[in-house]
Symmetry: C2
Subunit: 308 residues, 2 copies
């Protein structure tokens, strides 16, 4: 079975949308990634850090999904990373109400020995130096290293970010961030510039407008599934990433053609993530529901024009 190493935040979120609000609930990029990847036949581990205020039930939840949590450090007397945000009415933008780094401020990731030969490494959004230190701990070059980042690191750790981007295979990034990273408005040009920075593949996430996968001169596009209602977009991008790497770890095939399928699997899982607050929908997701919606993706995108 393929091994997937996931590095990122395990955290508390408090979310407010037009449909309601939550108290502190389970959140964090690595949480969403791992729960999404758990839909696939892969051996996953999460490397992260929490405080001892973090409920055992959340750790048990991950363990129950066959996710190795030996790499989640619990800091005695420490407080868990906390984010809270409020979405605007259209759910396409949000205000961050509070970000408390807490134990994340001194996070020093330690890759469990058993995962130093992971097939796929997913580096969730973190300081680029932390992401790089994980790559350096690997005993052999993974088949695929995927990295997610955000504008904060472009503003504050530009050189370090470029250094780690040079070492990875796939960069996942949203459209505005791709533009900021490359100073190119056209996403086609932005992707070409990013590929010159090192990655063989670039995934540009456009939220409700889908995701683009770039490789050499090739482009693949997965729409977001049109939904009657988006309830809470929190974690959709990380759920996408989890489906993407989970599928690639299961199939152990990192060809462009298989990455196309992986983008569909990621979009498919992300379409569930937004239906309830936080991780609730992904936690309860059944294989039959996933397959049914994959059929909808096929119906949504496949056409039948004969070409000479």
């Amino acid at each position: 079975m393929g091994k997937l190493l996931i590095v990122g935040t395990v955290a508390f979120d408090a979310i407010e949308t037009p449909f309601g609000k939550t108290d502190k609930i389970l959140g964090g990029a690595a949480t969403f990634i791992a729960l999404a990847a758990a839909q696939f036949d892969a051996k996953s581990a999460v490397v992260s850090v929490v405080g001892d205020d973090f409920p055992q039930k959340y750790l048990d939840l991950l363990t129950a999904k066959n996710i190795d949590i030996s790499g989640i450090e619990v800091v005695k007397g420490g407080k868990t990373f906390f984010w809270s945000g409020k979405y605007h009415n259209d759910l396409n933008s949000r205000d961050t109400l509070s970000t408390e780094l807490n134990v994340l401020a001194d996070f020093n990731p330690i890759v469990p020995d058993e995962f130093k030969d992971a097939d796929v490494v997913m580096l969730g959004n973190l300081h680029p130096n932390i992401q790089r230190s994980v790559i350096e701990q690997m005993e052999r070059r993974p088949k695929l290293i995927v990295l997610d980042t955000m504008n904060y690191w472009m503003n504050n750790s530009w050189d370090e970010l470029l250094e780690v981007i040079a070492q990875i295979d796939v960069l996942t990034i949203n459209d505005e961030e791709a533009r900021q990273l490359t100073k190119e408005y056209s996403l086609v040009r932005a992707a070409a510039k990013i590929i010159k920075m090192g990655p063989k593949y670039v995934v540009i996430k456009k939220g409700e407008h889908g995701a683009l996968l770039f490789h050499e001169e090739h482009i693949f596009f997965a729409p977001a599934l049109p939904l009657e209602e988006v309830f809470d977009p929190t974690g959709a991008g990380d759920t996408f990433a989890g489906g993407f790497v989970g599928y690639l770890t299961e199939t152990k095939n990192v060809s462009f053609n298989n990455l196309r399928n992986a983008v569909i699997h990621g979009s498919n899982l992300a379409s569930f993530a937004v239906e309830k607050f936080g991780t609730a929908r992904i936690e309860s997701l059944k294989k039959s529901e996933v397959d049914k919606r994959l059929r909808q993706f096929r119906e949504l995108t496949q056409f039948d024009i004969e070409l000479q």
Copy 2:
């Protein structure tokens, strides 16, 4: 050969984009629709009105593309409809600098006898009463009536608009207009409401984010082709509509499955329209270029996930 009747503006445009500006050039919804539809094996006619300031060379251009212009009234001493606009830097929004209705103010469309049995009728954006008068002139119910409209008529001719929408098969509309028409933010819900108003199909155009086709519980999505550069978006929506109806007229098949293909053909032609000012790119477009780009659409969207 299938017959296609196109009703809409034939006009002068003056366009300013970040890349340059034009004097008065050939424009108008019916012009873009007809030039796009001319890529297909269909017998097309345009019903419109121009002033006698309208250059013969533009009429000759349409004739050279085998477009019947006997339904284009030339008003002696009249001036042709004129629109000018300036695009913002991202090309996603624009300011209208001037709209001179001129002869369009008294437009009374007369359908040529030969096209009163057209297979497909494309009603470009016009006053809903003008659109309705065309439907009333048809000798038999066309296989498909497609109608395009815009927010202006929602603001100024609400009842008349609903009346004509109740008589058509396909409404093409952009995302913001679909929301305005239905008071629904979700496009899935908006489309469902529009279908209750009469049309069997709804096409929601999202510009650079593609187009959605709705029918009963089914949804099909065609992305816009990601381009290195968009030069001038003017007419892209009408070019889309022209490709859509041109293909349907050629194939004489108005099933949902064939409408899916038609949406791809429309998106494909629209991807050319934006590459040059006005109609320039569509005028010179070769079949081999069209086919090559259809292949790109296939590569862009087709995937290969086995489902049980």
